[in-house]
């Protein structure tokens, strides 16, 4: 590595082990590491020599990037194509209020430089795909999975197995998290744990189901710890073990993972190249199905116009009560999706019915249920209460 701080006087320059040297400022900066015998000067130089790729600069990526940078990991790669959004700031501590609207990569690079100017940041402002994953991952020693969706998790896993790179895994939902280290020489991989993803729509994402803001902090710092242990070759990494964290009960529990001899990635090695992960995760099929199942729609502007005209409309909100509490459209009635079938018995078939949810997906399901139950005058509010807020009534809070 040649990008070390050559302008600074260096110490320990007489090593011929190929590891970079540390400047005097770095020696002082890392002194609390250097005085741990298990890390020491050599360990710190190994960290400086290390190339770690973070897939995702979001909830998990935030503490990862900050701690790995502070710890002196020499090169941090970041893959993220997203832009900082206000709803990210509740947990993505890599980004600040001033960064809203900026690319996460730009914001992350600034923040990492501020934490530790000795870190070299390599940004990839792209979605990780089957076409680019091998090229991006190839130049790194360790890959850390901090993505937020199943297709990218399977893609990251398979690419790591094909390239023989350890995959430091972390995943979160609401109050619970999981962490492990996959795809080491002897250990299991993500597919050994979950051979197939759940069908789209069954497991809500954090955007749909929410996540406790500090939870990515808990899990991301565990991933950072595992990454540093792998670089230093110390301790017992989470290989062959899955850590389950429950923030509500503060239960940290590990279960045993085994390499599955029939795993198509690391067992039989039937997977010789990257596949179409959107298709593997059923997303293309679900999108096609959604198009095929299209339901009659009404836009928020049209709805507002019809209400202004005094049309007799039954506006039904199929979200959950806690969402209703955050915001609701005046005049709407709350009938959560799970109870729509029962409630159908009490609805007036002769009235026009408009159904809405947060973004239009759940209400489309409700519209299909009602149409199957013989209701013909029923519409889906396209874009849900979110677009209602955007297009009709900005005083309606968005969430």
């Amino acid at each position: 590595m040649t990008h070390t701080a050559t302008e600074l006087p260096t110490v320990a320059s007489s090593h011929d082990d190929g590891l970079p040297t540390l400047g005097t400022e770095e020696v002082l900066r890392y002194s609390r590491h250097l005085i741990i015998p298990d890390v020491g000067l050599t360990g710190q130089r190994q960290l400086k020599n290390a190339r770690v790729l973070l897939v995702g600069a979001g909830g998990l990526g935030s503490p990862l990037a900050l701690y790995l940078a502070a710890a002196g990991v020499g090169t941090i790669g970041l893959v993220d194509f997203d832009v900082v959004d206000l709803t990210n700031l509740q947990r993505q501590i890599l980004h600040g209020t001033k960064d809203v609207g900026r690319p996460k990569l730009a914001s992350a690079t600034d923040r990492i430089r501020d934490v530790n100017p000795h870190v070299h940041v390599e940004g990839f402002e792209t979605r990780l795909t089957s076409a680019n994953a091998l090229d991006i991952l190839r130049d790194f020693d360790i890959v850390v999975d901090g993505t937020d969706n199943f297709p990218t998790r399977y893609l990251t896993n398979d690419a790591c197995v094909l390239l023989g790179k350890p995959n430091v895994y972390g995943s979160i939902f609401r109050f619970e998290g999981q962490a492990s280290v996959f795809a080491t020489a002897d250990g299991p991989c993500y597919r050994c744990l979950f051979p197939e993803p759940p069908p789209p729509g069954l497991v809500p994402s954090c955007a749909e189901g929410g996540v406790l803001g500090v939870l990515p902090g808990l899990i991301g710092t565990i991933q950072a710890t595992e990454t540093i242990k792998l670089v230093l070759g110390i301790g017992e990494p989470l290989v062959g073990r899955l850590l389950l964290v429950d923030a509500l009960t503060v239960r940290f529990h590990t279960v045993k993972l085994r390499r599955d001899p029939s795993c198509p990635a690391c067992g039989t090695r039937a997977i010789r190249e990257l596949v179409d992960y959107e298709e593997f995760c059923g997303i293309r099929q679900a999108e096609a199905q959604q198009l095929a199942d299209a339901v009659p729609e009404i836009t928020p502007v049209e709805l507002a116009e019809r209400r202004r005209r005094g049309d007799d409309l039954d506006l039904i909100d199929v979200r959950e009560p806690h969402e209703w509490e955050i915001a609701h459209i005046p005049g709407a009635r709350l009938i959560p999706l799970a109870t729509v079938a029962d409630a159908a018995l009490t609805l007036d078939r002769s009235r026009d019915i408009v159904v809405h949810c947060k973004g239009g997906i759940r209400s489309a399901k409700a519209v299909r249920q009602l149409r199957a139950a013989g209701f013909s005058r029923v519409w889906n509010l396209s874009g849900g209460i979110t677009r209602w807020s955007e297009d009709v009534d900005p005083s309606t809070p968005r969430y």
Partner: protein, 408 residues
């Protein structure tokens, strides 16, 4: 050789409007108790989990032990001195949901099974009611569903009969964050009531029974407006009037104190159950009270017992095990740790699936096979490497469900 029994007993609501002191309904929140005769000890030891953590009663004062000893006394048996009791409850304490009646029943049932006392359910109910003083909570805890508990005047004899509840009705319980002490609630009641009040109470009692059976809106609305205790006790429950009117506004026929409070119970058409839950919780929040509200699948069953005697040589086929659920699935059951049993993992999962229909499709597919995205661990070992759902269970095994999640 040691013996152990497991008992599950439901919560219950009582004093439902016109059914003061006689009508009770089993509620889908459970107390689980495991009692072991442990000859290696020389005392009684209790571990408490869930809502029971709030209790600090000594073992001698614990309702489970009191019920256990009362059953022994009734049957003329000597109560064993060496007992190990593990109790876990999802029933809110001191909220008018029959937590202590459930404990007394659990103790009596455990004693009956463990010591072969040969008591029938009527006798169990009588024993627990005598200990407890609340036959209207004890009866549904024993028999399940809705019950009428009639104490013969001047004697301890108890007559219990099941009541019909229309399947169109939902029972909603809104539980605030503050307790009401039963003794204090009792002290507020007048020692006598006037004749007009008494005759109105008789009419309301009849209205309640017929209203529950038929779902008659007018009868239920009248019957849930009690005259015997709510007028005196509502002062103990901050926000009572607001919560009751919010429940009515959201579609309930009416609402009243559950037991002596602080829980408020509403009866509503099934369709409006969710809206009523929400309205009651919101109304309470508006007066600064944090509350949980839930619909009890009516009628909940009565107590369930499983018993086995085991030694190292002989293993019974249905092993009591605990299934641990992640928070997101726990909402579909009654807690994160479900006591279940089966000789294999598949049987235990099937038992849980049968008890919690909305949880079932999250655990296994339509044909009862495991999903590739939900992994089960048997004492921290992946079951797929031990025969999958055919993996054998042993007493006290711990099963953990790990679903795939993708958040980051």
């Amino acid at each position: 050789m040691s013996r152990r029994v497991h008992v599950r007993v439901p919560a219950s609501t009582s004093n439902i409007g016109g059914g003061f002191d006689c009508v009770g309904i089993a509620v889908d929140r459970w107390l689980s108790v495991a009692v072991t005769l442990d000859l290696s000890r020389d005392d009684v030891c209790i571990t408490r989990e869930g809502t029971l953590c709030e209790l600090d009663a000594t073992p001698d004062d614990d309702r489970i032990i009191v019920g256990f000893r009362a059953a022994c006394r009734h049957a003329g048996a000597r109560a064993p001195r060496r007992l190990r009791v593990r109790a876990r409850s999802a029933i809110p304490i001191a909220r008018g949901l029959g937590s202590s009646a459930a404990a007394s029943v659990a103790g009596a049932v455990a004693a009956n099974a463990l010591l072969d006392l040969a008591l029938d359910d009527q006798a169990i109910a009588g024993i627990a009611a005598a200990v407890e003083g609340h036959p209207d909570n004890v009866a549904p805890a024993v028999f399940g569903g809705a019950t009428l508990a009639l104490s013969a005047s001047g004697s301890k004899a108890l007559t219990v009969r099941p009541l019909t509840v229309s399947t169109e009705l939902a029972l909603i319980l809104a539980v605030p964050d503050f307790p009401v002490e039963t003794t204090r609630a009792r002290a507020l009641l007048p020692s006598t009531v006037s004749h007009p009040i008494a005759s109105r109470a008789a009419a309301l009692g009849a209205a309640l029974i017929h209203g529950l059976a038929t779902g008659d809106a007018g009868l239920l609305a009248a019957a849930l407006d009690d005259v015997l205790h709510v007028p005196y006790r509502r002062q103990l429950v901050r926000g009572f009037d607001a919560v009751v009117s919010a429940a009515r506004g959201a579609g309930a026929y009416g609402a009243t104190l559950s037991g002596s409070g602080s829980t408020i119970a509403a009866v509503a058409p099934r369709t409006f159950a969710v809206a009523v839950c929400h309205a009651m919780r919101s109304a309470w929040r508006d007066v600064g009270v944090d509350a949980q509200a839930f619909e009890s699948r009516t009628p909940a069953r009565g107590y369930a017992l499983r018993t086995r005697s085991h030694s190292l040589l002989k293993r019974s086929p249905l092993m009591p095990v605990t299934l641990h659920l992640p928070t997101v699935l726990a909402k579909l059951a009654d807690g994160k740790a479900i006591e279940t049993r089966g000789s294999t993992v598949g049987e235990a999962v099937a038992d849980v699936a049968a008890r919690y229909p909305s949880l079932a499709p999250r655990l296994r597919d339509d044909t009862g096979k495991p999903y590739p995205f939900v992994t089960f661990y048997l004492n921290d070992e992946d079951i797929r490497f031990h025969g999958g759902f055919e993996a054998r269970l042993a007493d006290g095994d711990e099963l953990t469900v790990v679903p795939a999640i993708a958040g980051g």
